[in-house]
Amino acid sequence: MRVEPAEAGGSLSGVECAWLPTGDLDEDSAGWLRRLGADGGQRQAAERELHARLVRIALAEVRRRAASTPVTGPELDDVAHQAADDAMLAILAKLRDFRGESRFITWAYRFVMLEVSSKLGRHYWRNPPVALDAGQWERLPDRLGIDPERHAESAGILAEVRRVVDEELTSHQRRVFVAVVVDGIPLDALAARLGLKRNAIYKVIFDARRKIRRALVANGYLEEQGLEQR
């Protein structure tokens, strides 16, 4: 059992190590916590070093994702810097939540990933390649990775998918499914546009997939084998 924080919120200065679960930590993680929990210059140096690392990781991450986002050039670098800044704030605010279940730096970098995803989702709408509610059904085979030479073979079952989407999904499920699956709008971008969390969008897609699959099985387009359990 680890020691709980001595107090919640506020500056870490002056509470040096009283709450830190350093006993079971690797040396690097213990060092970070010790320095970030120290007073004055040592803490400031640790914060500067951590922030520099977060910026480096964020820049690498947005470049890794560059091919899958319409955000480009200086705006992409801006996203990285904003993500690093906000990740830094979140890390300092939640430092006492760190329980040593992972290395400290992995825990810290996780905030960068979440911020990069969130910010790329929001920035998507500055220059979106496809509008919300476009409904590009003709592109569904490509979205599903179906070989163009076999589109005709798949036409019947895809028509049934569309019928189920049109007739059996709720309007919210239909809008989300069409946006993400048919139009290829990134899930985080749709979440930002609709003011929802990623998980809420994912759950809608999850339920829609299950509903469509059940309809395809019921109508003989797919076999029941492997149908999800409840």
């Binding site: 890794r64 996780r110 599903l144 990775g145």
Partner: protein, 71 residues
């Protein structure tokens, strides 16, 4: 893989799937296990199922793994 199998795979849902929120809550733990060569999927089957089905969460996983293994 046939076109029908491809569609079937897309539509198939895994009841072990824990969803984005739970998966992201332990992403750092999962990534450290993977980076250490441990059986992360065996320890967290619901997270593994989710990462297979959720592109954005898998992107976060891939990015975090790259970050911690790049030094």
């Amino acid at each position: 893989m046939s076109e029908r199998e491809r569609l079937e795979r897309f539509l198939r849902t895994d009841p072990r799937d824990v969803g984005c929120e739970e998966a992201m809550a332990v992403l750092h733990v999962y990534v450290d296990l993977v980076a250490a060569g441990e059986d992360a999927a065996g320890r967290y089957p619901g997270v593994a199922a989710h990462l297979l089905a959720c592109g954005p969460c898998d992107e976060d996983f891939t990015g975090l793994l790259a970050a911690v293994t790049s030094g």
